[in-house]
């Protein structure tokens, strides 16, 4: 029941928050905070009993595994399971949920009840995506989490919110439909080859499908995940959605929604289609590299601060794609680490942009400048997260990118060299961001009413700093937690022997 309780908590909390708006407009956010904190409760026994060292790792992949029949007609079960990878991403989701809540606390003043309903339901959907092990259930969560996100963007967003919301919804739905067809084809082929009708990942994974169709099925899944990641030809929803969304929604988008794409590739595409993913790998690596360079180049021509951060995400997620398809344990661990580190550093940047916009009512780089003089604390955080995103050694992003590059160099040296140039480009746009915002000429007379970070903001940001530093200095527990050797990635087993 633990995992179902974890899912139900934000769902019920959201409903309660919506209802409570009738009594007091300030109540919904408190209820949202409470329900997010309660979500940690089911995880506590797990976290306390889990020793963070390699020697006592659990022998099976799944830490918790719960299943109830749902639609017996198609043999679909409500099957949730948790392993190290999903645990890490769930922790990230819950943390970023708190961060989003903190940034929405004062920013959202209209229709608060509905806002927190949608925020919590999006989080519930994302948790469901990370937990669902039945493919049908996974698909349901995958699609349903978009609906509240659509409302978040289209009701509380900025000027062009309707356009951005529709674009976001349609891009991701298109990917979703493709996945639905591939899903049906996968189950159908599996049924033909084994005689078992099932949507269960654990059963499907035992007999990976083969044949010509397997390649196309794998491609369908991969494209659906690439849209969410986002990789190059499907990335154009991201800049609009991030820019127009309210800060809290941008945080959720950047920190966790994008991660569902990477999670999907690692969890589903690689183990379910070992043959096809080897065929796909060169193209995916190429897409990843193009994404890295293109995202970085687009980032440094932006004048909108939020758009800049959004394009930097495209660049960073290119590394995830690179890491996933390098077929190498280092690169894969790097990809997981990149998802965590990017989730934290980018959402911190979105928090900062939100703060700046709340104070100065602009995100235009040409109108900002010289913030350090007036807001030293906020600017110091800006500097920290700026250099985190350019991959400064000692922080999580560096570990991730370094591992990905090392891992993929063995097989694809040329592409990796190109990808490494992304690090330089990252330095260019990050420093540009820091320079134009925090240093340089002050463009406007100082308004003494604009205050520096308050305690709540300060606490949020400093805790994110510490997590990034911890990820950078002591990443081993996180690597141990991700049971790559247990994940039935067949190509990895040979590599480990060779490399260790």
């Amino acid at each position: 029941m633990t995992l179902f309780i974890l899912l139900l908590m934000p769902l019920l909390g959201g409903l309660l928050a919506w209802y409570s708006e009738r009594f007091d407009a300030g109540l919904p956010k408190k209820i949202a905070l409470l329900s997010l904190l309660l979500c940690w409760l089911p995880l506590i026994p797990l976290l306390s009993s889990m020793p963070f060292d390699a020697s006592s790792l659990p022998r099976s992949q799944w830490l918790i595994d719960e299943s109830y029949p749902w639609i017996p007609f198609f043999n679909i079960n409500a099957h949730l399971a948790l392993d190290g990878l999903s645990l890490l991403l769930i922790l990230l989701t819950l943390l970023m949920g708190l961060v989003a809540l903190s940034s929405a606390w004062h920013e959202i003043t209209k229709r608060t009840g509905l806002f927190y309903l949608n925020l919590l339901w999006t989080l519930a959907g994302v948790l469901g995506v990370f937990l669902a092990i039945d493919l049908f259930l996974f698909f349901v969560f995958w699609e349903v989490m978009l609906v509240p996100m659509y409302f978040l963007i289209s009701i509380w967003g900025y000027e062009q919110r309707h356009y951005a919301a529709v674009k976001f919804f349609i891009f991701t739905q298109a990917g979703g439909l493709l996945m639905l067809i591939s899903l049906c084809a996968l189950v159908g082929i599996h049924y033909q080859q084994t005689g078992i009708l099932t949507f269960d990942y654990l059963i499907l994974i035992q007999n990976p499908i083969s044949g010509d169709l397997a390649f196309w099925v794998a491609l369908g899944f991969t494209i659906a995940f690439l849209v969410k990641l986002p990789a190059l030809p499907f990335h154009s929803w991201l800049a609009d959605a991030h820019t127009q969304a309210p800060t809290a929604a941008s945080i959720i988008l950047a920190a966790v929604l994008l991660k569902t794409g990477g999670y999907g590739i690692i969890r589903f595409v690689l183990p379910l289609f070992p043959q096809a993913s080897i065929q796909l790998a060169p193209f995916m690596m190429l897409l990843g590299v193009i994404g890295i360079i293109y995202g970085a180049m687009m980032a440094f021509v932006q004048t909108d601060l939020k758009r800049l951060v959004a394009y930097s995400s495209v660049s960073h997620m290119g590394f995830v794609l690179l890491g996933c398809f390098a077929f190498n344990i280092y690169a894969l661990q790097g990809a997981v680490m990149q998802m965590l580190a990017h989730g934290i550093s980018t959402s911190a940047l979105f928090v900062l942009v939100g703060m700046i916009q709340h104070r100065y009512h602009t995100r235009d780089l040409n109108e900002l400048g010289g913030l350090w003089l007036n807001l030293p604390k906020l600017s110091a955080f800006g500097l920290f997260f700026g250099i985190a995103s350019l991959g400064m050694p000692g922080l999580g992003n560096f570990v991730a990118e370094f591992l990905i590059l090392i891992g993929s160099f063995a097989q694809y040296p040329k592409l990796t060299i190109l990808a490494a140039s992304g690090l330089i480009l990252a330095a260019v746009y990050s420093l540009l961001l820091i320079y134009k915002t925090f240093f340089g000429q002050t463009k406007r007379p100082h308004d003494s009413k604009i205050a520096d970070t308050n305690t709540k903001e300060w606490c949020t940001l400093i805790s994110m700093c510490f997590i990034l530093i911890y990820l950078g200095l002591h990443p081993q527990p996180f690597f141990d937690l991700v049971p790559i050797t247990l994940m039935k990635l067949s190509f990895i087993a040979d590599d480990i022997g060779a490399l260790l």
Binding site: I71, F73, E143, L177, G188
Partner: protein
């Protein structure tokens, strides 16, 4: 008399009673109650017959499947009827005859869905179409309604003529008008194959007109916009349900999928309907026109069922699963559509998308219901519409119909645009709040909304019982 004819017989009695009542005294409420009572009794009888029906004679086949379709039809009509009284009060016409025609179309539909012979099929079709003409042109002085009535009169006469011609050619070949004799018998081939194909195309033309599939779709938007709202709802649900069931029965009983040309025509019509319906829906401002185009697209999706060849070798391509797909899709689509129309009936003043602006902030229950119905039409998970799409994709994937599947994906994405536009319109800040004054938010319409939500979301989240029921009747 065979017990299986009771539902239609009860409705007939209801219609006659309204006629008799009209001779003595006009009373809106009496006609309303008579029609309601006869619908209710017919529904109860049909429900009872669900487990007992299994006979067939020359004209009709009455088994679990036709009984289920009749039940579905009566439920849909009942849901429309529930809104009828409030809606009729707002128009300035004699009201009693509407109930009469309403019952007559229902009888026509009932006859059609269980007919097994060209004679009974044609009888039902004409009864339905002729009553529809009256229903469409009901609001006398309204020019648009008159125009729509004339359009329907001419076009449906033309469609009937096509069907008759087709039936005549088939009679020439098979020497019988019964559907069960439609199977081609190679030993006694009188006509060349192209003549039979021509006959099939003639019948298709007539039925495609009723289903408003491309290229016989031009009338549908004008009609939905011009006709009275309840008539539009009946046209969209009852008439299309009956026509599709007949189409499906003809294609399966006659094994028409054996002709490659017919398969090509069906796939082309399906693909064209998906794309043209969804593309034309994109820029519509009028809500009813939007629904008209959406229904073209949905019947385009449903045509995929006819392309499924019954091949028991592969799972999900057996006769049984194809039938289940058809029934599930019909149930899902019709319930959603009736829901949408009953919401429209609760919003009498609202005609265009712009009028919807701000509905969410004034009448959240109505707006949320409409929102979920739109999501169901768009096929978002946890709604009935998604499960229907899932059935359809499951069946089509197992037969590897990649061409129509890719058309389905692309056109659903286009369709998503206008379903989202409806949702978005409701979220906007209202321009004029006066428009919401006439909204009927009484307890009865609230409970109806809750019932619709229960059907669309409840069966969307837990489809098992519905699936099993449908499996039983088509097994």
């Amino acid at each position: 008399m065979n017990v299986n004819y009771y539902p239609a017989f009860i409705l007939m009695c209801g219609a006659l009673m309204i006629l008799i009542q009209l001779c003595f005294k006009r009373s809106h409420i009496t006609s309303y109650l008579i029609s309601g009572l006869s619908l209710f009794l017919a529904l109860l009888t049909q429900f009872y017959l669900q487990n007992h029906a299994d006979t067939s004679d020359v004209l009709f086949v009455l088994n679990a499947q036709t009984s289920f379709v009749s039940l579905l039809l009566l439920m849909v009509v009942g849901l429309i009827w529930a809104q009828l009284y409030h809606w009729l009060k707002t128009i300035n016409e004699q009201k009693e005859e509407y109930y009469l025609l309403f019952l007559l179309t229902t009888i026509g539909g009932l006859i059609m869905v269980s007919s097994h012979h060209f004679a009974s099929f044609f009888l039902g079709l004409e009864l339905m179409s002729l009553s529809f003409i009256g229903l469409i042109a009901y609001c006398g002085p309204d020019q648009k309604a008159q125009e729509a009535g004339i359009k329907y009169l001419i076009l449906s006469a033309l469609a009937s003529a096509f069907i008759l011609m087709g039936a005549a050619i088939l009679y020439l070949q098979f020497g019988s008008l019964s559907f069960s004799n439609l199977l081609p018998n190679t030993s006694s081939q009188i006509l060349p194959p192209w003549a039979i194909i021509t006959a099939i195309i003639f019948i298709f033309t007539g039925l495609f007109f009723k289903l408003s599939l491309v290229p016989c779709h031009l009338w549908v938007a004008d009609l939905f916009e011009g006709a009275p709202l309840v008539t539009a709802a009946m046209l969209a649900t009852l008439s299309k349900l009956a026509a599709f069931i007949i189409l499906w029965r003809l294609v399966t009983l006659g094994h028409w999928q054996q002709y490659p040309l017919i398969i090509d025509i069906l796939s082309m019509v399906a693909i064209a309907s998906m794309f043209i319906g969804n593309f034309l829906g994109l820029l519509q401002k009028n809500l009813l026109r939007l629904m008209a185009y959406s229904s073209i697209a949905h019947f385009g999706y449903l045509l995929i069922v006819l392309l499924l060849i019954n091949n028991n070798a592969i799972e999900f391509s057996s006769q049984s699963f194809n039938t289940q797909t058809l029934f599930f899709y019909l149930v899902a689509y019709l319930f959603t559509l009736v829901g949408v129309f009953s919401i429209f009936m609760q919003l009498p003043k609202i005609k265009t998308l712009d009028d919807l602006a701000g509905l969410f902030w004034h009448h959240p229950v109505i707006a949320i219901t409409l929102m979920l119905l739109m999501l169901s039409l768009a096929g978002i998970p946890l709604t009935l519409g998604f499960m229907a799409k899932f059935y359809l994709i499951m069946a089509a994937v197992s037969q590897q119909l990649w061409l129509v599947l890719s058309a389905l994906v692309l056109s659903s994405i286009i369709g998503l645009f206008y379903y989202l536009r409806v949702i978005m319109a409701m979220l906007k800040t209202p321009a004029d709040e006066l428009i919401f004054k006439d909204i009927n938010s009484s307890g009865s319409s609230l409970s109806l909304n809750i019932l619709i939500l229960f059907l669309v979301i409840g069966f969307g989240v837990f489809p098992s019982s519905l699936s099993q029921f449908i499996q039983q009747i088509s097994g």
